[in-house]
Every structure is written in C-alpha cells, then in structure tokens.
Point group: C2
Amino acid sequence: MSAELTGIADGEAAGTGTLGKAMAVLEAVVMADGPQRFTDILAKSGQPRGTLHRLLSHLVEEGLLVQRRDLSYEPGLRLLTLASRAWSGNRFRDVAEPHLRKLHELTGETVHLGILRETEIVYVDKVESRQTVRMSSQIGKASPVYCTGIGKAALSLLPQPELERLVARMAFHAFTPHTHRSAETLLAEIADIRRDGHAFDREEHEIEIRCVAAPIRVSGSDLTAGISVTGPAYRVSMEQLTAWSGAVRAAAAAIGEEAAIRLGPGRGGP
Amino acid sequence: MSAELTGIADGEAAGTGTLGKAMAVLEAVVMADGPQRFTDILAKSGQPRGTLHRLLSHLVEEGLLVQRRDLSYEPGLRLLTLASRAWSGNRFRDVAEPHLRKLHELTGETVHLGILRETEIVYVDKVESRQTVRMSSQIGKASPVYCTGIGKAALSLLPQPELERLVARMAFHAFTPHTHRSAETLLAEIADIRRDGHAFDREEHEIEIRCVAAPIRVSGSDLTAGISVTGPAYRVSMEQLTAWSGAVRAAAAAIGEEAAIRLGPGRGGP
DNA sequence: AATCTCGTTCCACATATCGGAACAAATAAG
DNA sequence: CTTATTTGTTCCGATATGTGGAACGAGATT
C-alpha cells in the first residue's frame, strides 16, 4: 500500500507541478483511515510545512477537503458530487449493465465490471445476489491488476510492449498464498489467457474467493475493461467457473460491440 | 489573506489560484452532458488558449480527466476512486443508516440523508422501496437548498447572519410553480420551520413530489444535515406527511446525538 | 514557570504559470 | 485545386504564484 513512495525508478510519480502536489496531498488524506491532522499529512507527503499548509487551505477552499473543529482534515463533499456525475454520465457502464444482469441471473453469483487504469482495475459496476442497498461498497474501488480476474483479463488485451511497461511498474504484494509473486509467472499466465480468452482468480486476492473473467475491447476507443463472475470457493468450484467461462466471454464480447457503436456520439468510457 | 476575497459580495467563485482554475475546468467537463472538446471548454472556462491547454494536460496526467481518441475530454476514473473512499469512510452516514432504514420501514417511502454545503444540499445516502441496484443514482447529487425539504430544514439551524449570507448568494430558479422565488418568502418559511422543527417540500423541486424533512445538528461538529421522507403526491398527502413529521424529527434527533458521540475519534461527516 | 508539540504566519526568492502569438493540421468554402 | 477557416498544439518572455526556511504563539505536558 505504501509502494507509491518508490518514485525513484520511474522518476515521474512526483506529481505534475502544483496540481500534482495538491492531488498527492488530497489522496493522502482521502486514502487514510480517519481524519488526518496536519502533522500526519506532513509526514506522509514530505512537503515542507509552509507549502503543505497553503496546499491544504486551497483544498479546503475548493471543497475537496473539510477541516473539522479539531483542525484535522477529511474528504469533502465535492468529491462525491464530482464522482456522482462521472458515474451516472458514464455511458459505458450503461451499455454493460443489462449484460451484467443477465450474467447474474444465469449464475446467481456476483458480477463485476472493471476498467483498467494504469496498473489497477477500477470497479465501475456490480450486480450482486444479496442486494445490499449500499453504494455497492466497491464501486470506484481500485485493485491491483495482477491478482484479480478482470485485471489479468484486461492485461491480456494489451500489446506486449505496453504490457511489459506496466508489469515493470508493479510491486507484487502477496495478498494470499496464491498471489502472483513475480512478473514471470504473471506474464506466463497472461499468455494462457490470450489463448483461452478468459482468466481466473484462484483465491489470489482474497482467500476463499474465486472468479472467472473475460476482457472487453471497444474498437475505436482505447479503454480496456473486463467483467467477472465471483463467488466463494465453497460454493463455486473451478469446474463451475470453467463452465461459466463461455457465457462470460460472450457477454464481454457483446458489451464490446455494443459499446463501440453507442460510445461514439454520447459520453464514452470513464 | 483569502478571508476578504472569499467572504462578502462576490458570488463568483474566483478560483483559488492555480488549483481553483484547475477545479473550475474539471467541473466544467464533469458537469457537462457529454465529452467536451477543447473549444467547448475554452468557451465555458474563459481561460486563454495556452493556459487551458496546459490545465487540461495536467488534469489528464492526474487521471482526473481522460482524453478520448477524438481529442475530447471526459471525467477520469480517479474521481470515482477518491469518492469511493470518501463515501465508505464516512462515519456520519454509517451512524445515520439504521435510522434511515427504520424510517423507511415505518413509512414505506424513500428516505434521504443530506448534508449542507454552501448553498446546496448534497445527498449522502438513500433508502428506497424498490431497491434498484444502482448506486442510488442520487448519492453525491447536489440540489439547491431553497427548494428541498432537507435544504430548508438545514437552513433553519443556521444562525441568522450566516443564513442571510447564504440566502443573498442564491439565484432562485423556479423549478415548479411552487418553488420559492424570493428571499422573503424563503426566510418567512424558515421562521416557521424553526418553530415546527420540520420542513415540507410541497412540490417545489419536482412536480408531484412531496417530502417532510427534519434538520440534524451534531454538537461538537459544524456539519449541518437533514433527513427526509419523500413520496409521490398521489400517494402521500400533506396530512400523511404531517403525521410522519414526529418520527422524522425523532430520527433526526437520534442521529444527531449518536453522531456527536461517535464522530469524535473516527472519521466524521465529510 | 519551563519545555515541547503542533499549527499558523511571514517574506525574500525562484519557478511554474500565464497568455499572446505563431504554427500545423484538419475541415470547409470558393 | 486553391484559399479560407476552424481546431488543437507549441513556444517563450514577463510576472504572478507558489515555495519553504524560519519565526511566532497557543496548548498541552512536565
């Protein structure tokens, strides 16, 4: 989780000028688990005191952060408002939704839609069995590519150079005993995925959780995405997942084609 | 330094330095109804060409915007990720949720939780009858205070000077024939709301939609919020709403007290 | 009272931003 | 086919803007 500090090799994680710094500070606060005091942020961000203070002031003035009575900082409501528009105006999710639903009816398990961003998969929609009213808890959540079905599926669509560029930037964290630990094993599996057209998550991100995923390519757009059917290991065997793989691939293909048509004029992927 | 700039007469968001400009541009794109081309944004933002171009580049580099093949700009996924954290880490919503649910069970109608931000109400949670899986469509949505039950209820908690400062900045847009058109009528109703402890929306925002709302004050925090029970006019009469008002006030009070206790150590309202 | 920690403010300095203007590439018009 | 227009990108000197070390003061701690 603190692999971001590694800017060394890459050299450009440092943030684009002023805006980059502001966003880094914002992220430090938002990604933290509770209200952050000035000193907390000071340590995480590494910015000098004066600079950080002004940065925070600006973020508060913009409504991106809120300062509480005890002077600590929290995420501001403006983030929600911006994201709300970003999400509801997203045509790609709109196109995919009926397909997700169909897949859920077929399998009875949770279905995810995710989009590739850099070295992560961002979940954009979810259809689940027990309809918790919650904002699907995971919408907007970003998970590493190398340990998720959708992630590996999406990677399989990338041209090899691009793939290798991304893989080089990954820090393989072992979430479970089955998580990929090296670029080699990951790249090997990607080759298989290219052949099969679908990917599995064999309890690589969370123990007892499996999934089968298929990549989505939208011709004419450069967005790379994927869908998956996820379930607990005790209920869904690998055989079961394999049996579903055809339906998942078909749904992914359908979404890709439909999106290619309807994404032109309207608002497209994220 | 910005105290005098942000304070009084100016209704324009002058934009706090560089970050302010960047956010203004971001908002212009995000709030638009589709992908925005350079020229579109140029017109809306009023920034000079060179400046705008650099601003957009930075926003894209930060993942806040995405540039499509046809060079037009769209909201980026990073917004979703940030908001996801901002929402799920929000303790206030967490505290309120069971009360919303109870209110829903009692009334059978949709229940909203909203927080006051400047001159708008931002919806933070929602419990509705037909559990659409969707990210409650309205979470994060911002509506004007003067035409929503929660908005008017929240206003009723403000000290008079603060209230007048806000009212002075409102542009009364007539969404329906029943929408407040002037500060006078609004302020008059606020006085009533202070007396009654609850507010109604008499089809002021959307025709055929009514609600009863109560304000939430959290002692020790400076957040002002409210909850409401909303329903279609054909199903919920004003008498019905009045009958529910006691329960709504009670729920609001309970949320306020509980939040005051549990908001200290954890992450509070955004 | 003395010390420490934390947040805020100040100000000389440097640099990132600014924005007009030139440029290139499409698209439309003549 | 040539000329005009629109659209996006790049350049660069001037300067506004952000930078960050240091001083300040309010609370908490001893």
